[in-house]
Amino acid sequence: MVDVGMTYPNGKVALADVNVEIPNGDFVFLVGPSGAGKSTFIRLLIREQVPTTGSVRVAGRDLVRMRRRQVPALRRRIGIVFQDFRLLPSKTVAENVAFALDVTGAPRSHIRQRVPQLLSLVGLQDHAHHLPTQLSGGEQQRTAIARALVHAPTILIADEPTGNLDPVTSWEIIQLLIQINELGTTVLMATHNQEIVNAMRRRVLALEGGHLVRDEAAAAYEREY
């Protein structure tokens, strides 16, 4: 992101003068209080919104100049998971993962091969035919992660992925994200979880009032002096 600013039509400044570069393969935390601009930051990365100033490049693509019909191809390069999982309640674990391939027109043979791979990566091979309601929160988030990885994205964005989970389960999810990062996927995780950020000692981007107030490698949740 170069000189990125985002002002909403109602005049609210969500981001101002943000300059960030995230190299391939990084594991980055995005922290900050509610309303600091984390959600806008993520929306710009997946081109749900276009910045009012500055430029955003993701996976070599200029998102400001990107045409609307090119957006789906970008989204297949980016996996995204949310605090509330966003699974389809009427579909099983395997169907939820397969859905992401189905709606992008992937051949059935590819789907049959890819879904079990991903389920075993996230440790859900025995739950393939369960419905989301039959799963724990952690298992639901693993399903969402498997779905996010279905197109082998270069970037995985996790928006408060542990927000609804207990500490033990949260750690299991973090372990999974680290594992995915080690396989070469860039991971950007927005979080309020101080404990995890402090324990991990990874790069931290801190937003406050729309400004990037801190960008430190191997950092903690709060500024350390």
């Binding site: 789906p72 989204r75 859905f99 992401a100 992008t104 051949p107």
Partner: protein, 297 residues
Amino acid sequence: MPFARFIGFSIVRAWQGFWRNAMMSLAATATVILMLVLLSGLLIVIAGLNSGLEFIESKVAVTAQLQDDLPEADRIELIADVETQPGVASVAYVSPEEAMERLRASYREAGEELDTGGAEIRLFASLEINLVDPNASGDVGEFLATHDDVVRVLTKQAEYDTLLGIINVIRTVGLVGIGLVGLTVLFMIINTIRIAVYSRAGEIEIMRLVGASDSFIRWPFILEGVLCGLIGAIVTIVLVAIVWDPIQPAMVTIFQMPTAVSARFLTTLSVVLLAAGLGVGALGSWISVRSYLSATH
């Protein structure tokens, strides 16, 4: 292959969507049937009247009543004159005796006997003139009217004009009525598809996040609307085919003329019904999906 996958995906999703909200889908389909039944009725009546019109055109176009006791030589001369008129196909002489016999025959056809009460009735002798071009009836009529040997000229023009007027009124009223019903149907389909779209807002959001293209999101809904139109059209075609034979004599009775429509018209009508059903379904769902997708993007 990817296109086949896309088509298969869209059709399956449209079918599932149709039955997921079956009440609403079937209500929309019912309005499509209503519209198409009205449309069929209108088209059949118009086609019937048109064939009646053709029948009138094909009948003796001009009849000229002749002076009583016109000498045969004059009559032959007159016939020769008329035959040279432009647009005239043939001229036939009907003697008073033949005219009387025709009158008796028409009574017999109606199941009655002509009763003259013993009086001697003498009918006019006349010329029956067939035309090559029905539009020539005006000119031929005028020529005959100025001739001394002719008492009165009868053309089918007035009858023709009346029927044409009726057809035009029916066509206008019918089309306005069907237009209004069509708008209602369009509104029903827009609403049905809107409800379907909103009930799957979560799915649509996920589809966008995982990189589904707009066509994968849009077409299942459009096909769902098309399905309402398709089912409506098929049901209507079956209904029309069932009542086809019984309504032919009924139309003849109602309109008092040969209105029989050829069976080939049934094929044409089916094509029109399919096109109208599919068209209104596609248009309604297209409007609905387009407004939703552009509002949420």
